[in-house]
Assembly symmetry: C2
Homo-oligomer: 298 residues x 2
DNA sequence: AAATTAGTTGCGTTTATCGCAACGATGAGC
DNA sequence: GCTCATCGTTGCGATAAACGCAACTAATTT
């Protein structure tokens, strides 16, 4: 309620007369006079000197004047920020991504997006699938990117593209000579795999169960980076989606061979967000970019 | 109008629910919901995430939240300042004083006032009577203090105390032996007077005209300080109100003798302010202090 | 001294806000 | 998976604030 009265007071003080303020604002002089009088009575102190034709501010009036001037500036700043948000010129996107997706292609995608949308801050968090789902549910992340679809309720799978797990090894590795490998084949080689609890390992577990063969990796690491390097060195095989080693596959330092298992061949990469949370602005834009790029990678 | 909606939004966001906000503010939930919705439509962007039980802020919502928080702080600061003004803890007083009033008693008065009212800034300007009146009329000074009353319209004489011009001289001066002096007596001594244009000189002029005697001062100065010093040295007489040399009279380094002239004996010291400008707060307080002290000096 | 122009006040009208109640939707518990 | 409690939303009549018009008072101007 103060807001109106202060505005009238401010304009009257600025223009030096209530009538000019009346013209500018478009309200009757009487209202202006009344609002100011009311403001004064609420503040318990006079803002303008009475018994005078022109508007002269008392000390309290000058304080109120400066106060409102600053307030206007602050409000304009807020409106600018809001405007930028609407135009997606600024904003924040929180992304939760399985570590397997990291690598030059993904980095290039993010960099390209930021170049085209300066002012948008992006946070990319890397963690396990279950954690990603939790973050999306709790709105700690706008968008999540996980292997395999999830049956979790309250999660909307926006886009899912086929992205089967592959066996990766160096070109000179014995496995590279094979067209495809079964779980049993895998068991015969040195393996580098992520620890239990990772989605990749969980998917493999199911396959092991079906094949009644249990894998015993020589090296267990949470670092996809390390898995790629071990495989490149030819010391071991690793199991990852193509997307996790796109750069290496293109330059030929790694080769990919299918892993013969129904569930694994049909595994997918999913872009998810919380059901009921309509993405808008920056997150929506990034979502569509991710969606398009993911399809081009599959 | 924004103000209300923002407040509701702020409380709802703060308490995490519209109903709690409703209890705290004392307004129906429906109004809160509506006000927030309206605010959103005016801003053109959602502030809280819909389709959710609890209140969660969007990015724009967080901006608005912070904005209003700052706004509240600013408003409280303003209210504090206003409160201080009302309690006369702060404020500004502009005083315009004839130079004749300067001296230890006046200085002590101002110092005492400032000690009892810390936070109040006082500006004491010294100038000629006509200038004092102009400053009061133009609101460049809250209070003026002049010799003699003025017939100026738009000037309100708040208080006038008798303060006849006296002849001042050193105790050993021949004039000190006289009970009282006439204008003609004055003409026989060396004189130190202010220049034409000063109120004292104007008052004397009238007396000279009546007595058909013209004074020719040996020394003319605008400095009351200098006049007092000259008189103390015994070199000349000077003409001032008692108030201008209160300290010297008390310590006995100067003596005062009446100047026999109707108008001069009835001259006064006046506290003036602009007609229609009701003094309040700090200026009013100082005015009453000045009034009381002036009477005690007369 | 009259005229002009400023701010103020009274009164009827318009607009915005409010409260109540019914509704729709979300999330917790069984 | 279903029910129930609770929270936010919407419709409608009531209420209060703000508004415009016009008459009024007061400060400047000529």
């Amino acid at each position: 309620m103060w807001d109106n009265a202060l505005q009238y007071f401010y304009e009257a003080a600025n223009l030096g007369s209530m009538r000019l303020a009346s013209d500018k604002i478009g309200v009757a002089v009487s209202s202006i006079s009344r609002q100011i009088a009311q403001l004064e009575s609420e503040m318990g102190i006079a803002l303008i000197e009475r018994g005078r034709r022109s508007i002269r501010l008392t000390e309290a009036g000058q304080l109120a004047f400066e106060y409102h001037k600053n307030q206007l500036a602050d409000r304009e700043a807020l409106l600018n920020q809001i405007q930028e948000l609407r135009e997606v010129k600024s904003g924040r996107i929180d992304l939760a991504i399985g570590e397997g997706f990291f690598g030059p292609p993904f980095t290039a995608l993010i960099e390209g997006f930021q170049r085209r949308n300066p002012g948008i801050a992006i946070t990319v968090t890397s963690c396990a699938s279950t954690e990603i789902i939790r973050m999306v549910l709790d709105d700690e992340a706008h968008i999540g990117m996980i292997l395999h679809t999830t049956s979790e309720p309250k999660i909307r799978t926006r886009s899912a593209v086929a992205q089967p797990l592959m066996v990766l090894c160096a070109p000179g590795h014995p496995a590279a000579a094979m067209e495809a490998l079964t779980i049993a084949d895998l068991a015969g080689f040195d393996l580098c795999l992520p620890p239990q609890g990772f989605r990749i390992r969980g998917t493999l577990n199911h396959a092991e169960k079906r094949a009644q063969t249990w894998l015993e990796p020589r090296l267990v690491t949470t670092s996809i980076q390390m898995m790629r390097e071990i495989a490149k060195a030819g010391r071991a095989l690793t199991v990852l989606p193509r997307i996790s080693a796109l750069a290496e596959l293109e330059e030929g330092s790694l080769v990919a061979r299918p892993l013969l298992d129904d569930a694994i061949e049909h595994s997918t990469v999913s872009l998810i967000h919380r059901l009921g949370r309509q993405l808008e602005g920056a997150p929506a834009r990034l979502m569509s970019v991710l969606e398009a790029r993911l399809k081009s990678w599959s």
